[in-house]
Symmetry: D3
Subunit: 260 residues, 6 copies
């Protein structure tokens, strides 16, 4: 394991086959999006982060990482700024559902039985659930009933102690994290060359009423596209999160897939 | 307004027509589900509550309430106990999306321009967003570009003061509210004859890991089907919530639809 | 059975479970529509009638009634006045098909094996057939091959003797019954408070050429929206029909589901 | 017109173009099925008859006949014997809907504005309506709003006088006509070489309860596959029907398309 | 076999049943299109040719020919002139996929296990592959796992010797054959009354860049609609191709279906 | 242009916006697959190659490259070895169609008007055509009628002189190129670290009959998964192809998008 990267698509098929056919190797499927993340970060933050989490986790648990889903569900205003923002390129819900359904089924056809969907874009969440349900159903129809799928978003493994360290002055809340300190710190830890923190715009956390409006009222989204200021982001905070989340995911998958 | 119920389907068509054709009357569409809510409440809690909120709000703002959607998206384990629980009868995501898309478009065809989707089942949320997006798109293709849709879940209007009153000993959190004090109190305030509080099962709030597993691990869901104990529910708490949420929704819709 | 209403959604899940899990309890699924029925009746006639027939039948045969489908297929001009009429809010064919497919499958997942689709809106008919076919197919794929579905429209149980009594001066025919004597009489028997017979418009039965035209020629539909005059409707005629149809359906379901 | 057959597909494209581009030429689209019609008639009765009606009508009104739809919706037991009968090869509802939607839109793209759907298989009816509605909607989205579609089934033009002549001993009713005297007589008039009347099985008209059951109870369908006996069929009766229906359709289309 | 035509739809159901139920009889399904083929040939060339190939092959191998698919996938500019050409009436990809999926499944339901898809329209090719894959999957879900499908286009059986004879001056290539010498010669051999060679337009083979553009640049397609000149077509060349392709297909199906 | 990589997702949104909003910047969308390419190359050859071609071309013409599609249509036996081969993870046709449709529409929503679909997986071809057609149609419905899409596969720009140089002993043909000299040489030129030529298996070009069989006859595919031997591949041949194809694509897009 330790001499090669765990990306399934980087292997010739015989190596893939050797890893997948017995059903023991966990398959990690990272799901991202192409979505604006403010002036200071590129559009594929939600692709890079779950891919890297998947890679780190896979190396520890002997898993394989499938090619990342580069497009995700439509950005929503109160968690991602909204789909109207330039640079945000999204899929219809059913398109995402079918893509994930297809990919899970295909890995299972070759032997995969243990899957982790590693989500990096909040808006994907419910369509992931639907895709997994449809995939399991069709696999069942094909006589394959022993597939197990863990669905996770990496940020759900950030615990309260970590939040307290990252936000010494108080946490503005997950709801307005988009493009804020957490994501930016992770990017600083992993891809500092892609972060232009000097371009980040400082602004108070966005506030929204307790409902949504369609078509979006564009004035609700801060002009920057971020929902809270990333100015307090740092590489150290990113490394902290990285460690905490990676450990949490590794432990979860070891538990669920009985890996010791 | 004050001499009749605001349910659109209870009117003959000329009355409907008079109300809808000019595009001023808000149309409230309640969305529910058929989902288990513990031993002490019936399966249509998520139908009854948004319907009644819609009725109360509509009476105050001069709106019309469309027939409620009686089925919703698949119950998820960590917010609704899970779709495996007996009594839970759900729709596929795309079925729900298409149903709401169709209904919005039909009301708009007759003149409706202001819509409020009043959700009573958390799992419906993202499919509502998708349905609204598809409906607005097709209406646009038909040359109707001035439709506005407010999407809300009644519980999002409960404020912190109210929570503090309802949970004097501390709020276990929205995540485990399913079938708990909030929903049960509302039902006690509105439909006491449908609540058998003596059958409710007292148990500590459910705890879940920060991920989902499919097929669900049934042992994660408390045997009762509720995610926290409803024992502290009361009619008074329900009336408090009812007032707070109704007021909040009325205010929101007045603002959004410029109703004075 | 006799101490409670047979509506499945009014029960807590343990009661539902006790009734459904052994596959013996017939599940009745009422299908309606939101469709204009003239100046004298509300838009949900097609919801109320099959729901009430389902309730009465279920009480006699020990069945359960699922939540009614509140929206149906597009009203057709020659049987329902046409989808252009104000107040008529319809679903696309495929939306209805998928909704019914999903609901049948979900009840079957919990144990249901005997279903009666109780239709109250003629236009739903063929989409019901398709939905049942798709549901049975997917259930078969899931290894459930012993589901039986009876599809019926309540009016098909009106026999010729009854017609002769209801129309002493001659029956204008089923084709133009929409909003006429039969439906109005049933509503008078069951929901007199929802009928405003004084607003009904007297007109000769509609006549149509032996073909349809799309887009509809609106002038073909009587201005009232009814296809024949409801003026001869009465509570007594409604009660007669109610008895005849209920008895007929009860007998049919007893035969088909071997209930004695 | 009088020197060539009106089948659109038999022409080179310049001739097609000359006929279609100005929107005046009616396009007749015959819809059939592949369905058993007893021991004495082939499986494509429902293809041959509407095609020939379309041809005759088109010649009189200067119309074009598009290629026939060779497959139709699933045969239903009470009107076509049921889809379980050998030889019956059917489409899903949505497949048929999409096929007709596509074809109407394509002809309209080339200029067609006047369409007649000439149905030869009862079970197609509602899916035709849906297809027409979807086609008109998408054409509208493309800025084409002046398309008119007449939907007809040839048998609806048989009048009561004709029925009295064809059934001197009383009409068993349309419901059980499948493979009976009417269809067989038409085939004898048009394609006598495809009818083997000596193989027809004489049996009383089928009787059915006022509901459907799925999966079908195969014993309800007469073993022959016909729902009434074709023994009294004759070429003369067929020619009578042929004349009456052709005249009726010609008149209807002349009226609707303002052809003099 | 030798006393009747092999068209499945020309038989009464008992004869069909006798042939299909044991799974031995190959079912040939011809797929065509309605597509312009120049000034000299009708729009249904792609229907007529695969139908006739199917008939000839079926007679030799004891197969049955199903009703031809009269519409196909959208004409592409570089192989069929383009979908913009008058007279070309096409289906969406998914419509074609579903139609073929449905028809294969239906024949298999009645016993068919050996299928040959006989394609006459190049653009159908990939949608055929998809349809076959979906049909086999659903049949598998229904427990039918022994279906075999051969997919072929008749022209793929033309060998190099034949090409050399047909094009003594050099073959312009398959890419520009549309409406050219091969198709025209086949039509002259089989349906000379439908070919008006005098109307054919002589032009050099079309040349295209190595990519496609959408919307099509109409000037890329020769004004005639053909991609190479049919002027050198002859009945003799058609008969040669007919013999070679028929023999090739017969041999292929004998091999694949173990027919001796 | 010359100081940064042209990948759209690597930019913050204001930079994206500046490039896309005026409609002048060509958007290149690379489409790949996850497909076995023999023992000597990884599974994402079809992702890497069109991405790199897109990058090179974009740099020369001032274009932007969208995130690559990592999954493609089902591998076909005669051009890709077949979907049964381990490591091949594919999408259903409709899933691919919808994904590309969505992405084109989204870029166009933000201003994109000039698109190049850069295909790296032959099996994607027809589904690309369909996706483009659907995207253009829906854009048209949204009032956007000036979008132009060039669809290309990089290998179609290899000219005959190049082929002659790469295959001095004769070209086995495009049909059996899968995993052969062309693809391997390109990989050696671009990603030599991902090629293990020593593991490549030497075998004569695969031969196939002129038809397909489903389910695939696995014995038709060489055990290696390649359809011809890659042993004669070299970095130099790859660089030659790279230059020829890049130049060809650059010229084509300059022509089509009027870039000087």
């Amino acid at each position: 394991m330790n001499d090669q990267r765990p990306f399934a698509a980087e292997m010739p098929w015989p190596d893939f086959h050797a890893r997948v056919k017995n059903g023991k190797t966990p398959i990690l499927i990272p799901l991202g999006s192409m979505e604006q993340h403010g002036h200071h970060m590129p559009l594929h933050v939600d692709v890079l982060l779950p891919t890297e989490f998947s890679r780190r986790v896979a190396e520890q648990i002997g898993g394989l990482v499938s090619p990342t889903f580069n497009y995700g569900y439509k950005s929503q205003q109160k968690c991602g700024g909204g789909n109207h923002m330039p640079g945000t390129i999204s899929l219809e819900g059913q398109t995402l559902v079918h893509q994930l359904r297809d990919v899970i089924k295909e890995f299972a056809r070759h032997g995969g039985r243990s899957f982790a969907i590693v989500n990096g874009h909040y808006e994907n969440s419910w369509f992931i659930n639907e895709a997994v349900d449809l995939a399991l159903r069709e696999l069942r129809w094909d006589g394959i009933a022993n597939v197990k799928v863990v669905v996770l978003s990496y940020w759900d493994f950030v615990n309260e102690e970590t939040i307290a360290k990252i936000y010494p002055d108080g946490f503005p809340g997950w709801a307005v994290e988009h493009g804020g300190v957490l994501e930016t710190s992770l990017m600083l830890a992993l891809y500092p060359e892609l972060v232009q923190l000097e371009r980040a715009i400082d602004h108070p956390p966005a506030t929204f009423p307790p409902y949504d409006v369609y078509p979006v009222k564009t004035e609700w989204t801060p002009a920057s596209g971020t929902l809270s200021s990333p100015k307090q982001a740092s590489r150290e905070k990113g490394e902290l999160m990285l460690a905490v989340c990676t450990d949490g995911i590794v432990k979860a998958l070891r538990d669920e897939f009985s890996i010791n």
